[in-house]
Symmetry: C2
């Protein structure tokens, strides 16, 4: 089969490799309907994370089950499934607390930028649809696997409430999904911080009521002006850089929560600053599995269209171009048709 | 009148000084019924905070109104009042959001270790009792002014829920009040971390179900053992040192909140650690004013007895001994009768 490997920063290749097999009785094998490139794939692609050996890339997926291990009971061959990028048993205390992304058996999905993939912990990770979905829903179901679920978690962690003012920092796919989530949760004002025309337009389509193009101190001043100097009721930090976190801290009103979902790179928080600003924080890898049933329903009912976040659609064989286009910010997110 | 001044680390003096006067139309003057020494007073006393000029000490108070400014409408001379150590107008957006400790007009109370004190923003800060309280309730009402309200906020920020397992780090007055608060909020298990016999006993009296005497890695291991390796559902961090915060992070279960109320001294938080542990955090100066009406009711109805946290009662004139006893951990908290 074809699969994607990252050999070194900037060096991502599609190549022939053996199909995955069932390794554990709790595994499932799926034939991908589509997969995609994630913003977090760009960290090693850009050399920000070390690459020791070739990495089999890809953690976002949906597709058809082709085989299951002997202990798998909730999905069977032939069913169309969607799963989280965090693999979980969905039965341990952390899963039952709603944090499947901290499952005691947690693994992170890998190798999904391929024709076939092995999904460990299939029963606790995958959700089977009653019927194969319409083809035009595939991008949205794929988005549910990570970016939609992650943006949703950011809004949830930030405690977006009906009528509130939410600010979304980051106009990547996750940030845009955060806008969608805040809108679904009833935010009255959604301020998207973005400097890119195409992303601004999509943010507005997803429910943003204001666009702030300024960054740093100017961006903070603009948000404070829009909120009558009160600050935001909820902040979604969808980047992970020190600059983005600084901005989040400067615009969150006292007593509000920052939901942060960008993997922090070089972020250090000063205890005394956090204390006196009274800023609440909750983040981490999104427990997508908690939200998946509802997200899938919203997609199948065509109430949300997260798939629009894919503004580049190419065959899996051209995966290298997908990385390149996202790295150069020519594309928000690249969908790979398998 | 007699008042307390800190001249330099370790050098606290009681001395004659002029009585305070109404400086603003929103001020009230009170005659203290009692006041006390706070754990946070020990930071400058121990030289951890810089002392540039003599500081008029004291921010915990209750007593009788003797005069009010022309704009004060909610309290009047002769009434017995309790107020927060954070002065607030209780009308600004932050106050209405429940964070009076971030009031746009916020000031911190000073000069309460005296016979008389000026309370700015009297309408938004003070609560008048219908009648003068019984003398034996004075210590509890005084505790409501800061330590009780602060422990209560820690439990609230940590999202203590009925049936949950809460861990309280710190066996000072605030930690003990955190135990009391967690008990009132219905926690099923309350683990108090304490190495001091007298404090352990008080913690048990206030509702602690378990005492952990170990610290550092051993303390963490003990809590993890008590929680079947899951970690705590809610953590109250009532110290403010890097060691205490480290301990809190190590015992909080994924998705839980740390409510932290000790002013952080040298605490730096690593973004990536917070992210992958999925620990939520909310802290800061307690919005005591939010909780005061309920706390006063609980005290007047004799449902709680926070005043027991004062294990040393001396005349105001002996304030220096109060500081010394607390610094040497001979006393949990010193009440000064005026």
């Amino acid at each position: 089969m074809l699969g994607t490997k990252l050999y070194a920063p900037g060096d991502v290749r599609i190549e022939e490799m053996p199909e995955p097999t069932i390794l554990k009785p709790t595994d499932a094998l799926i034939r991908l309907a589509a997969t995609c490139v994630c913003g977090s794939d760009l960290w090693p692609y850009r050399g920000a994370n070390k690459v020791d050996a070739p990495l089999h890339m890809g953690h976002e997926y949906c597709g058809t089950v082709v085989a299951v291990g002997s202990e798998v009971t909730s999905v069977k061959p032939g069913q169309f499934v969607v799963g989280s990028f965090c693999l979980s048993d969905n039965t341990c205390p952390h899963c039952r607390f709603g944090f499947q992304s901290s499952c005691v058996q947690r693994e992170f999905m890998t190798g999904a930028q391929s024709e076939f993939a092995r999904v460990p912990l299939a029963d606790g990770t995958l959700i089977a649809l009653d019927n194969a979905p319409a083809d035009d829903l595939i991008p949205s179901l794929l988005a549910a696997s990570d970016v939609l679920g992650t943006g949703w978690y950011a809004a949830h962690a930030a405690q977006v409430q009906p009528g509130c003012t939410a600010v979304v920092i980051g106009d990547g796919a996750v940030g845009l999904m955060g806008v969608l989530a805040a809108q679904q949760m009833g935010a009255a004002r959604i301020i998207a911080m973005s400097r890119h025309k195409a992303r601004q337009e999509l943010a507005l389509e997803y429910g943003a009521t204001h666009i702030v193009t300024e960054r740093g101190d100017e961006g903070v001043a603009k948000v404070r002006e829009l909120t009558e100097q009160i600050g935001a009721d909820a902040v979604l930090e969808c980047v992970g850089t020190p600059q983005a976190m600084d901005q989040a801290l400067a615009i969150a009103r006292p007593g509000s929560m920052i939901g942060y979902v960008g993997v922090p790179h070089g972020v250090q928080l000063d205890g005394q600053r956090l204390f006196f600003s009274q800023t609440g924080m909750l983040g981490g890898p999104a427990p997508v599995r908690r939200f998946l049933p509802r997200l899938i329903d919203l997609i199948l009912d065509r109430k949300i269209n997260p798939g629009k976040v894919f503004d580049l659609e190419i065959p899996l064989a051209e995966v290298a171009e997908g990385y390149k286009a996202m790295d150069e910010r020519r594309a928000i997110k690249a969908l790979l048709r398998v």
